[in-house]
Symmetry: D2
Subunit: 170 residues, 4 copies
């Protein structure tokens, strides 16, 4: 039995890319759909929610609140929620979930990418793969899954120098 | 702080492949090393153990025992163990660990691939990514991580028709 | 002004492959279409002719004759013809064109692949790229374009050991 | 018998890219070497000449002259010359060859890329493949091979809107 999870997309580097080939062949398929189609998903059944399509640097406080509310709401009916988010403000949305929802009814896992899918050296597929597994394994809470790590909010921040997320000592 | 894990390679489809390009450029680099180099590993520090290089259909009972003993032994000193294994007899080795070791000191996660890395449609990178994350998230025990699922031994078998692993009802 | 050329497909390794990803996303698109879409074609306008879909080892004398006649016929109205063909019997069809047509009205360029497109190390894209350029540059005649070479019939044979085509000394 | 050709690299988009994977595995291998290694070259034997490594927008008149002189010089001893060049000023170097050398002793074929090799949708491999074939098929002269076209200097210019090279009506 597959767990039903929601995958909320908000934009960011992971989606910003444009694959010319798939563009020609399958015009209305997004990069996220291309990535999902390339994975073998036996554990989860994904319901896509295209909430917005923004570079996270352009997100307003209202955007972060909308993302947090939507994720919290969907966590009540689904076995888990993944939020695909630009990395620059990912932590703002993550903390907003904690503020507004506390501990959600099921795991909410944020993910994103430092290098778009369009690049051969992209980390997008690794991160999406990890989020799709982590959402099945962790306890209810708010997390970021990226770069072979799962970190729990609060206390998570982007380390620009390292180009990844780190846990801030309390 | 990265967790130190052992990655025991035994052969199988995931390694059988030969990437001509990397062959030319980096002669003595195995496919597993190419895959590891393509991932961003912030959670684990991998220690490679090249135990054997066999199609799992050719494994003898002694091979399965050697794999089980080595994995159990390494689980005592490392934060986790990954075993890369041909899928046909992967479950035999998995059950042997349970027989010989019971609950290991740290998680032992088997993985493999149905389609070699050499194929564009390979599942090798997905499965390795999942094993490298699962080994950090699950409780001590013996598992297979593949195709967006983590299944715990005993009671795991390969479903040839589905081309994946399934849990057998007890 | 682009030259109008015919691209006759007959099957073989170059088409045998199945790209799972594009299969999911764009069900009725063939591998040849995927390859054509990935190239930037400013010199030629391609008219696709799906003549048959056979491993060339299964071709009958009638098949070779049909291929030769079709290629010769299309060379009269088009600026060039490309024939995608299994490599094992490619030279049989090539020589049949010379027998039946002599020097065609425009260049007829055969091509194929030793390793399917589905493999990362495929030669399919290189060979198709070369055929699509050679057809614009060579004089009317019958050729095979593969592996950075253009060889003219008659006197061309597959060297199984080298895995490519060679010119037989007269 | 393979023809000996020179491949003069000068920089530009085709080389600007950085493939993280090959970077890790084969530190001192350039992108051009990665591309050459991925092709099956039965027609030519390539001698690499790393002349400079510049974005062509930064080239001085002396740079264009040096490129033209080197290409013309090498055309005297080799069966052909390929010049890998940034597209923005490629035509300047091409015309400089015509000015300084007139008709070279063997074909000089310029090529480049609009989208770096690092992108999945790169045109670099197509263009390099075409240059490596064209250099064997065209008469002595100065050309650009890109995007399924071979255009002869003088009278070639980059069409920025189309993102390719075109022939200017005389």
């Amino acid at each position: 039995m597959k767990r039903r999870i929601a995958l909320i997309s908000t934009g960011g580097t992971i989606e910003k890319t444009y694959d010319e080939l798939s563009g020609v062949l399958a015009n209305h398929v997004s990069v996220l759909d291309v990535m999902l189609a390339s994975l073998e998903l036996r554990g989860v059944e994904v319901q896509r929610v295209q909430l917005m399509n923004k570079d996270s640097l352009d997100m307003t406080p209202e955007d972060h609140t909308l993302i947090a509310q939507t994720a919290g709401e969907m966590a009540r009916t689904m076995a888990g929620v993944i939020v695909v988010h630009g990395t620059d403000r990912l932590a703002v949305s993550g903390h907003r979930v904690v503020e507004l929802v506390g501990t959600p009814a099921s795991p909410i896992v944020f993910t994103g990418a430092m290098r778009p899918y369009e690049l051969r050296s992209t980390d997008a597929l690794q991160n999406l793969t990890e989020a799709l597994l982590a959402v099945q394994l962790v306890a209810p809470g708010v997390y970021v899954a990226m770069h072979n790590q799962v970190l729990q909010f609060p206390g998570v921040t982007k380390d620009k120098l390292l180009g990844t997320f780190v846990k801030v000592p309390a």
